[in-house]
C-alpha cells in the first residue's frame, strides 16, 4: 500500500485523531464545560476557553458544507485522480472537516448533500477519513 501522496504530519495534539482513524473511528475533542466539539485539536475550547476535555467518537455522518473540483494536479501523485473533489464536510456533531468526496461523479456533488465516512487505508500506519454520498 505504498503511496507517493503526502501523509499526515502528526503532532501530540493530533495523535489521538490519527490513532482513531487507524481504527476507522473519527475521534474529536469535546469541551466538558460547554459541550462544543472542536477541530483541529487544541488545549482550550475556542468557544468558552475551558480546558477540561474528553475525546468522543463521531458518527461519521454529515453534509457537504462546500467543495472544489481539482482539474489540474498541483502535486504529481494526484494526477491520476483528476478530476477530484476536495470538500469541507459539516459533521452532525457540528465541526467542519477537510476531506475528499469519493464514490460519485464530481459533477453530482452539491452543497448540503448528505455524506458518510468512507475509510481509505493508504499505508499500514494511516487511514484517511474520506466521504461518499449517504447510502
Amino acid at each position: 500500500m505504498a503511496t507517493e501522496k503526502p501523509l499526515p504530519q502528526v503532532n501530540p495534539d493530533t495523535q489521538p485523531f490519527w490513532d482513531g482513524c487507524k481504527e476507522h473511528e473519527l475521534r474529536f475533542q469535546k469541551c466538558l464545560d460547554c459541550g462544543h466539539v472542536r477541530w483541529p485539536p487544541s488545549m482550550i475550547c475556542p468557544e468558552c476557553h475551558a480546558s477540561q476535555t474528553e475525546w468522543i467518537t463521531a458518527r461519521g455522518k454529515g453534509a457537504v458544507y462546500t467543495y472544489a473540483v481539482y482539474h489540474r494536479a498541483f502535486h504529481p501523485a494526484f494526477k491520476d485522480d483528476l478530476p477530484y473533489v476536495t470538500a469541507v464536510v459539516e459533521l452532525e456533531e457540528g465541526l467542519h472537516l477537510l476531506t475528499n468526496i469519493i464514490g460519485c461523479n464530481p459533477d453530482s456533488v452539491r452543497c448540503d448533500m448528505p455524506v458518510e465516512v468512507a475509510w481509505e487505508d493508504v499505508t499500514d500506519a494511516f487511514s484517511l477519513p474520506k466521504f461518499r454520498p449517504s447510502s
Binding site: 477541530w39 473540483v69 476536495t86 467542519h96
Partner: protein
C-alpha cells in the same frame, strides 16, 4: 503612523518585493506543507480555499462565473491602459473567459491572479510635511481592520460577512463618510470572488445583487464605480495588498497616465478612494480610505 506621531521619525518607507515567477514559488507548496492535513487530501495553495468559499457563496446567494466574468473582463480593460501591467497588450473577451480552463472549479484561469516579479513602495509622512513635497499626496482618511481569524476550512463566513464588513464599518466611521461617497475602489483581488464578496460586505450591493451590479461595465473604464484601475492583481501584477493601495495613492496623485480617473477615462474625478487588503484566505481584512489633499 504611531512612530510619526511620536516624533521618532519623519518619513516611513513601506516596501514590498517578490520574485514568484522566477522562483516558481507555487511549486514549493508541494514540499512545504502549510497545513497538517490539506495536502493529504490534495488541497494545495490559496486557490482551493478561495474556490471553496466561492462555491459556498454560489450555494447561499446568486453568484458564480456569470458575475465573476465581468470583474475579470473590466479589470483587463484597465490593464490595457497600463503599460506597466503584465496583461497590457492582451485583451480578454467573454468567450476567452469561458473557454479558460478550470483551475480549481468553480474558478477558471481568468478568475485567478497573476504571479509577478517586482515590487511596490510608498512613503508615509505627516500631512504637514507632505504639503511641501514634489507631488500632491494622498491623505489617509480612515483605517479599519478585522480578523475573523478562524481557518477558512473551519469557517462559516465563506459567503460573508467576511472581515471586510466590520473593517469597512470602522474605516467609514473614522473617515466620516458613507459608501456612496467613494469615487473608486482598489480591492484585493487574488481571485474574482474576492472582489465580489469584499464589495458586498462593504455595502455597495446586497448579497447576490453583484451579478446585476457588475454587469454593463460598472467597474471598467467609463464605469460609474471604477475598481482596480491598474488591472489589479488579476491583470496588472500581484504584490499583496500593495497592488491596490499604491494604485489608490497614484490615482489621487494624478500620476496614472492613460488610465487616470477623470475625463481621460470618462470617469468621475477621484476625491475619495477605498482600498482593501486580505490576509490568509479571508482570515484578516484591512480597509483604507484615502482622499485627495
Amino acid at each position: 503612523m504611531g512612530v510619526l506621531d511620536a516624533g521618532l521619525c519623519n518619513y516611513v518607507l513601506v516596501s514590498y518585493g517578490e520574485n514568484s515567477v522566477s522562483s516558481r514559488r507555487p511549486d514549493k507548496y508541494n514540499g512545504h506543507l502549510l497545513d497538517d492535513n490539506a495536502p493529504v487530501f490534495g488541497q494545495f495553495g490559496a486557490v482551493s480555499r478561495y474556490a471553496m468559499a466561492a462555491r459556498r457563496a454560489m450555494h447561499e446567494f446568486h453568484t458564480g462565473p456569470d458575475t465573476w466574468k465581468d470583474i475579470a473582463i473590466d479589470q483587463r480593460k484597465w490593464a490595457n491602459l497600463n503599460p506597466e501591467a503584465q496583461m497590457y497588450d492582451r485583451s480578454l473577451t467573454e468567450d476567452d473567459y469561458y473557454v479558460g480552463n478550470w483551475v480549481v472549479e468553480p474558478f477558471r484561469l481568468y478568475d485567478c491572479c497573476l504571479l509577478s516579479d517586482g515590487g511596490r513602495a510608498y512613503i508615509v509622512t505627516s500631512v504637514e510635511r507632505a504639503r511641501d513635497l514634489k507631488h500632491p499626496p494622498a491623505v489617509i482618511m480612515g483605517l479599519g481592520q478585522h480578523y475573523p481569524a478562524c481557518d477558512i476550512n473551519q469557517s462559516t463566513y465563506m459567503a460573508g460577512p467576511t472581515g471586510a464588513k466590520i473593517a469597512g464599518e470602522i474605516a467609514f466611521e473614522m473617515a466620516g463618510i458613507a459608501v456612496d461617497d467613494v469615487d473608486a475602489c482598489q480591492i484585493y483581488d487574488c481571485f474574482t470572488y474576492a472582489v465580489e464578496i469584499t464589495m458586498q460586505d462593504y455595502g455597495f450591493f446586497g448579497p447576490g445583487e453583484g451579478k446585476d451590479w457588475f454587469s454593463g461595465g460598472t467597474i471598467g473604464p467609463g464605469g460609474r464605480q471604477p475598481v482596480n484601475t491598474s488591472g489589479g492583481q488579476l491583470s496588472e501584477a500581484y504584490f499583496m495588498g500593495m497592488t491596490p493601495l499604491t494604485e489608490g495613492v497614484m490615482q489621487l496623485m494624478g500620476r496614472c497616465g492613460d488610465r487616470q480617473l477623470g475625463p481621460k477615462t470618462q470617469t468621475k474625478e477621484p476625491e475619495i478612494i477605498l482600498c482593501s487588503d486580505n490576509g490568509g484566505a479571508l482570515q484578516s481584512h484591512m480597509a483604507t480610505i484615502l482622499r485627495r489633499l
